[in-house]
């Protein structure tokens, strides 16, 4: 019964979305008709219908209603109840429903907070978002209905949630990631509406910037959680595998990063406007490609749930309509936007033009940043789709390995960080880079020599990439700290937006340092260990104490005890090897002895002869910094989002946004 109600609610939501799209169109033909005001009501009605549908599915999970096929495939009676909440989005159908819930949430939020916008424009934005909703709800109903029932299997315990997904990291990873993906739909809807209207409001950026920051913040958190989850749960101590699905989340992140930076210069300078629109369209398009291509099973990975040709076809159609359509619109209307900009520039009204004295300025640094981010994105895109292209053309099967990504993407990031360190100091309109270098030469020297000190500490010679990565990380930390301190010394009040920027930049630098140190100076050992065996890794003694049988709610296995010690320091850790009852899937639960500066990571391989196990032991210095930095970035974006200047209604405050720095 509840499942049927859920489906019904979803269909109701579809009807409401259709109405949101149809009513304003009707008023083109009958302009006097006041109907279109009703769409505000339909937006909320749609939201509550979708929410009702989602809660119905959740209740099916909590009730162990195995007549619902989706519940049967993703849950079991023995599954702890908090995992049942995550199991709702543990498979393809449910995750699509979650997607729609989040899209509807963003739509109602936009509706709620856009009252001061021009009405025609506001309705256009809501129409674009409703159109996206229609696409997704139709997709769910037509190809991936989570409420389908079966009546053959009655006495069953359920097929259980994939053991890899039974983890705290998984509780928050998909919703955060989706909040980010879908959040870009706001900027996308604004961009499409502007192109549709044929003009770009002055307040465009002011309106979309907090939304974009919110989405980007969530996406950052989602990626960080995903990386942390992979580190703990996949059992092999890596934080990033260049798996297609990781790339799929990273590409919108890179484009989103480019978008928020180009928005920053857009406020100052009109030349960036059409580029900003393009970035807004790209960020959401890549989110769609990411979420969809991964889900459709075209790219095989942990995350590909099922392969169904009907789904693939729908996805391809939907993608080509949305992405193709918006790029066509951009090609058609974007040029007229640019020409109106040029006219605008011929009659400079409020932007006073200074003669350009220097090549280097805040603008040019931001432009370089955008260029580097887009190049990084395209490099990753090429590596991700190349195997598909070759396979599709029948030229053979191949895979692009991590070395490709590491070799090409790391230099781009190192370069970006180098630029970032200068960019915070550069002024709008032009600045003398030479003077800046002279001012900061002390820091440059520290950044160049610092990694050598670190190498001495670890007593190993790092690769060039690691060395430069560290240099770039140090450089950003030092130069950003210097910037903040001088501002405080001069008694200038730093606006919240800039505090956010500083925190996010420090986060990037910390992540970079974490990656460089943990990959450059980490130690890995694979060995055969029996109880009472001992090994030494990076000065730590790791002793295999004993092993005991283990019994969990829905798994059995072995739990081992290891003692990690060094001088005064002692820690016991308990890695596990689990065998899940349903599906007989083996899982490695790695155990970590962690401090702020290093992880000792122990994972059980498999039982060998006479009580011995194959064991993997890692020493990973500063590995926590990778995720710590990620959360700092998220936090920075959050701080920037709360900058009140975005929310004040007068245009005057928009001008004050422009002059953030003297």
């Amino acid at each position: 019964m509840i499942a049927e109600l859920g489906l019904l609610a979803l269909i109701t939501a579809l009807i409401f979305s259709l109405l949101i799209l149809a009513l304003p169109m009707m008023s083109y033909f009958y302009p006097a008709c006041p109907w279109q005001r009703a769409i505000i009501f339909y937006v909320y009605a749609e939201y509550f219908s979708v929410l009702f549908s989602y809660i119905s599915l959740m209740i099916c999970f909590l009730n162990n209603d195995f007549s619902v096929i989706y519940v049967l495939n993703n849950s079991s009676t023995a599954l702890p109840f908090f995992y049942k909440f995550c199991a709702v989005w543990g498979g393809h159908e449910g995750s699509m429903l979650l997607w729609v819930v989040i899209l509807s949430t963003w739509m109602s939020l936009v509706c709620r907070f856009s009252r001061s916008l021009d009405e025609a424009f506001r309705f256009k934005v809501l129409m674009v978002m409703a159109a996206l909703n229609i696409g997704f709800i139709l997709f769910i109903i037509a190809t991936s209905n989570p409420f389908l029932r079966q009546f053959e299997i009655i006495k069953t315990l359920g097929r259980d949630l994939n053991p890899l997904l039974q983890d705290i990291g998984f509780l928050f990873h998909p919703p955060m990631l989706y909040m980010g993906y879908v959040g870009f739909s706001v900027a996308f809807a604004f961009a499409i509406s502007s192109l549709w209207q044929g003009e770009m409001h002055e307040s465009w950026v002011k309106w979309t910037r907090p939304w974009t920051l919110a989405a980007w913040s969530c996406l950052t958190a989602g990626i960080t959680l995903g990386s942390w989850w992979a580190y703990r749960e996949l059992g092999w101590g890596g934080f990033w595998f260049w798996d297609p699905v990781e790339n799929a989340s990273f590409m919108p992140w890179l484009t989103g990063t480019a978008l928020i930076h180009s928005m920053a210069s857009c406020e100052k300078n009109a030349q960036f406007r059409s580029w900003t629109l393009l970035m807004a369209i790209m960020a959401f398009s890549l989110s769609l490609v990411g979420a969809f291509l991964v889900r459709s099973g075209v790219l095989t990975s942990v995350h590909a749930f099922a392969v169904d040709p009907k789904r693939g076809l729908y996805i391809l159609l939907f993608l080509s309509v949305v992405i193709g359509g918006s790029f066509l619109l951009f090609a058609w209307r974007g040029s007229s936007l640019i020409s109106s900009e040029l006219q605008h520039q011929k009659h400079p009204s409020h932007h006073e033009k200074k003669p350009i004295k220097y090549i280097f300025s805040r603008e040019s640094a931001l432009f370089l940043n955008n260029l580097l981010l887009v190049v990084a994105m395209l490099t990753i895109l090429l590596g991700t789709i190349y195997p598909l292209l070759i396979d599709g053309l029948g030229l053979g099967k191949l895979s692009v390995g991590a070395p490709y990504f590491n070799k090409l993407v790391s230099p781009i990031f190192i370069l970006s960080l180098m630029v970032m360190g200068f960019a915070v100091h550069l002024r709008w309109q032009g600045d003398a880079l030479f003077l800046l270098i002279r001012k900061l030469r002390g820091y440059i020297l520290i950044a160049v020599l610092g990694p050598a000190v670190i190498s001495l500490y670890f007593q190993s010679i790092p690769s060039l990439a690691v060395y430069l990565g560290l240099t770039s990380g140090f450089w950003v930390v030092l130069s950003t700290a210097h910037w903040v301190l001088t501002k405080i010394q001069e008694g200038l009040k730093i606006k919240q937006g800039l505090y956010g920027m500083v925190i996010a930049h420090l986060g990037v630098a910390i992540t970079m340092i974490g990656i460089a140190v943990s990959t450059g100076f980490g130690v890995q050992k694979d060995l055969k260990m029996a109880p009472q065996d001992m090994t030494v890794i990076a000065g730590y003694q790791v002793r295999f104490m004993n092993e005991r049988p283990l019994k969990g709610p829905n798994y059995q296995g072995t739990r081992a005890e290891f003692l990690v010690s060094k001088a005064q320091y002692q820690a016991y850790v308990y890695p596990e090897k689990r065998l899940y009852d349903i599906g007989q899937m083996a899982m490695t639960e790695a155990a970590v002895s962690m401090t702020f500066f290093r992880d000792i990571y122990i994972a059980m391989g498999e039982p060998l002869s006479d009580e011995a196990w194959s064991v993997r032991v890692y020493y990973k210095p500063l590995v926590r910094w990778i995720w710590g930095g990620g959360f700092l970035i998220m936090f920075g974006a959050f701080i920037a989002m709360t900058d009140l200047r975005y929310y004040s209604k007068s245009l005057k405050s928009l001008k004050s946004l422009v002059s953030v720095e003297p």
Binding site: N162, L164, G235, T300, S301, V302, A304, A306, V375, T379, L382, G383, Y386, P387, D391, G396, K397, L398, S399, V400, G401, P403, Y404, K407, L408, D526, L527, K528, G583, Q584, M585, A586, M587, T588, A603, G605, E606, L608, S609, S614, R616
Partner: protein, 125 residues
Amino acid sequence: MLVLVSFAIGLLVYALRQNISLFYTPSEVLNHQAPPGRLIRLGGMVVPGSVIRSSNDLSLQFDLTDYHAQITVAYTGILPNLFREGSGVVVQGKDDGSKVFHADEVLAKHDENYMPRELKDLKKS
């Protein structure tokens, strides 16, 4: 500008070609169709009962089959959780022309429903 862009793309494709690994079946490797000395992926089913472990370290060997030919793979290290006799696996390594394929990485499927893309066609045929 155009020269720069094409130069960049050329560089990108070159880097790509240097870092791809092509997929081969046991029959193809035994017929020396794989380029020697280059990183390749070899996929097949693990022959039940063929896994032999060393008694003093982590080295082991097992046989892979595509139902036409069978090749022995040698590997040192920890096998993935889902490595099972009788199920599909992809290994990565270099073909040195000898009878035994030395793998430096073993990639097994992620769950009971997952198949490496390359192996799906194999199973169908």
